[in-house]
Symmetry: C2
Subunit: 334 residues, 2 copies
DNA sequence: CAACTTTGCGCTATCGTTAGCACAGTTGCT
DNA sequence: AGCAACTGTGCTAACGATAGCGCAAAGTTG
């Protein structure tokens, strides 16, 4: 790989001159600059980022830690972040944890060791102590999920209120035997959501005695398996409230497979608003979260806080509200 | 940020000793090693990757350049790559080009400047000269698409044969007035696919006079708009062959919106095999590509070629075949 | 014309880490 | 006992880029 020194020797000038010519230093003659630019282009010189960084410069790399990139939720986050960063010349170091805290710990360490400028993370349910300690070395922001009482910037959706909204919709249609299928209780977002589920019952003064909470996973498989179990019950629920993006896929998959007639036999509210929600049967009623807006505002804020390094006294918190998109998957009960 | 020097001073030893203790150098006493490890842990020391790299070490970062991470095709690639790399301690620097050659050029330059160990790229339709030149500085592999005659490792699907397969299916059902909706002709993959479309007609000795090729985009919007146009034709096609993943979404979206009865009014073959293909109407007949396998074999091969740096005399090429998944979206024409 | 400023460039130290060499102290062998 | 081999550690020189200082030449002012 060609170095600045080689360019300098080729031109018979000093390394400093080459460096200055390429870094828009004003105290260099236009002629010299042109010659240097031409030569470095001809020789295929590409600056050595790590070397510059060592000289006190800052990295243009931001770590982005996500549980799963195939989940459209997270893919959207990656896309939005990328767009934000692109304008400022920042790049993404992508880490996928699969919700494994050990993978998470390793990646956080490696990112800090790579001296990224900062980290944006959707944490696992219960990160290691070590992860939190390492994270403290760099500016970082949390997305969607939050690590316990950890103080940091945070951007998320209103987990509590969105499920409350969906559940209220079902309650207003007369449903009481509602099954909620959501993530494991250890996940802060998941526990907020189930709290919203309960609150919806309380709001209308209804008993949640017939309701059913099935917590445990955020995967398609979990949603699928849970629906199969629910369908085998002697007294089936009249409605299903999905509490996670991929759970929704699994639920729809199982219902399609078992050819359950929606909404006549069962009402469904999906979580997140995938494109196919419009096409599925008579349309899937869903909770829509403006993930893109959330991620973009996180990205912009993060970039801003990287540039403007003064110590802030309190963390930034941003809760994005969700809305319900009513389609054809919920029936009115008489 | 704590440096090895600070750890050394804290213990009253030399920097070398700290370095050796942490890098499993055998010629260091067990006692010293323990003290160093304890101290560096206590002080929160995290090694400086860039600095080590400067000393001749190699980066653990691999650039991954994709057109669009929200496309499940590419998301799957990212996921597979991540899994491959994770085992070997490599990480991903993700770049999203949105099929913009200028963005691509910038990102390639920045990745090389960050001294990534290598680059895996799904190139744009016609990358800049500059991009190709810069790319030559590092080991790299191309995925799915290929830059002109550029010599490099390449992993892709059989673009020609997959569309031929789907088209043959429609031809065998008696369709002749088939519309093919695919990417712009500049895209090598797109032109291969349209060639497969024509070949299918030739294979069965059918005239492609009634067929229609609409080339121009790989987005949902393009698929959507094209279907709307096709539906307005005086003599509608009897079948649509989708030539790109996101085109399929757009096509399905438009057909759902216009409430076209599938397959009675129109037959459809989708490209790629998204989860919702099973749920849409009576099921969407699709072309399935083992993207995960392709990406994994690319990832493994790439890691292998990074480790084993001997100059290879010829590039590695791998074509993954596609298969058709017949569901309920294609009718037999009498 | 002397003194001073400006312009354009070179030299050198430095960032954090590691490999190679040096060296003191210890052990083993004849 | 003398010498070699080994063990554990320190010192120093890089890696590539850049900021600060210095300095010569050219231009400017009184």
């Amino acid at each position: 790989m060609v170095t600045a020194r080689q360019v300098a020797e080729h031109l018979g000038v000093s390394v400093s001159t080459v460096g200055r010519a390429l870094s828009q230093d004003p105290r260099i003659s236009a002629d010299t600059r042109m010659r240097v630019v031409a030569a470095s282009h001809a020789l295929g010189y590409v600056e050595n980022g790590p070397a510059r960084m060592m000289r006190g410069g800052s990295s243009k790399l931001v770590g982005l830690i996500l549980p799963d990139i195939r989940n459209t939720f997270y893919a959207t986050i990656a896309q939005s972040m990328s767009q934000c960063f692109d304008k400022e010349g920042f790049h993404i170091a992508l880490s996928i944890t699969n919700d494994d805290r050990d993978v998470e710990a390793r990646h956080v360490k490696d990112l800090v060791s790579a001296r990224v400028a900062g980290i944006v993370i959707v944490p696992t349910a219960s990160p290691r102590r070590e992860t939190v300690a390492t994270l403290a070395n760099v500016p970082y922001a949390q997305l969607l999920r939050r690590i316990g009482m950890l103080q940091s910037d945070w951007f998320g959706i209103d987990d509590f209120d969105c499920i409350r909204l969906g559940t209220r919709h079902l309650l207003e249609l007369g449903h009481r035997r509602i099954a909620y299928i959501g993530g494991p209780a250890e996940l802060p977002t998941a526990s907020d959501r189930v709290a919203g589920f309960r609150k919806a019952f309380a709001d209308v003064g209804a008993s949640s005695g017939e309701a059913r909470e099935v917590l445990g996973g955020t995967t398609d498989e979990f949603g699928h398996a849970t629906v199969e179990k629910l369908l085998r019950l002697r007294t089936r629920p009249t409605a299903v409230m999905c509490g996670a993006v991929r759970v929704t896929s699994g639920v729809v998959d199982a219902l399609s497979e078992k050819q359950v007639v929606i909404p006549d036999e069962l009402s469904v509210v999906g979580f997140g608003d995938p494109p196919w929600a419009r096409w599925w049967g008579k349309g899937l009623t869903t909770l829509r979260m403006p993930v893109q807006e959330m991620a973009t505002s996180c990205g912009l804020w993060f970039l801003h806080s990287l540039r403007d390094k003064r110590v802030r006294t309190h963390e930034h918190r941003s809760i994005t509200p969700a809305s319900i998109v009513v389609r054809g998957s919920c029936a009115k009960l008489r």
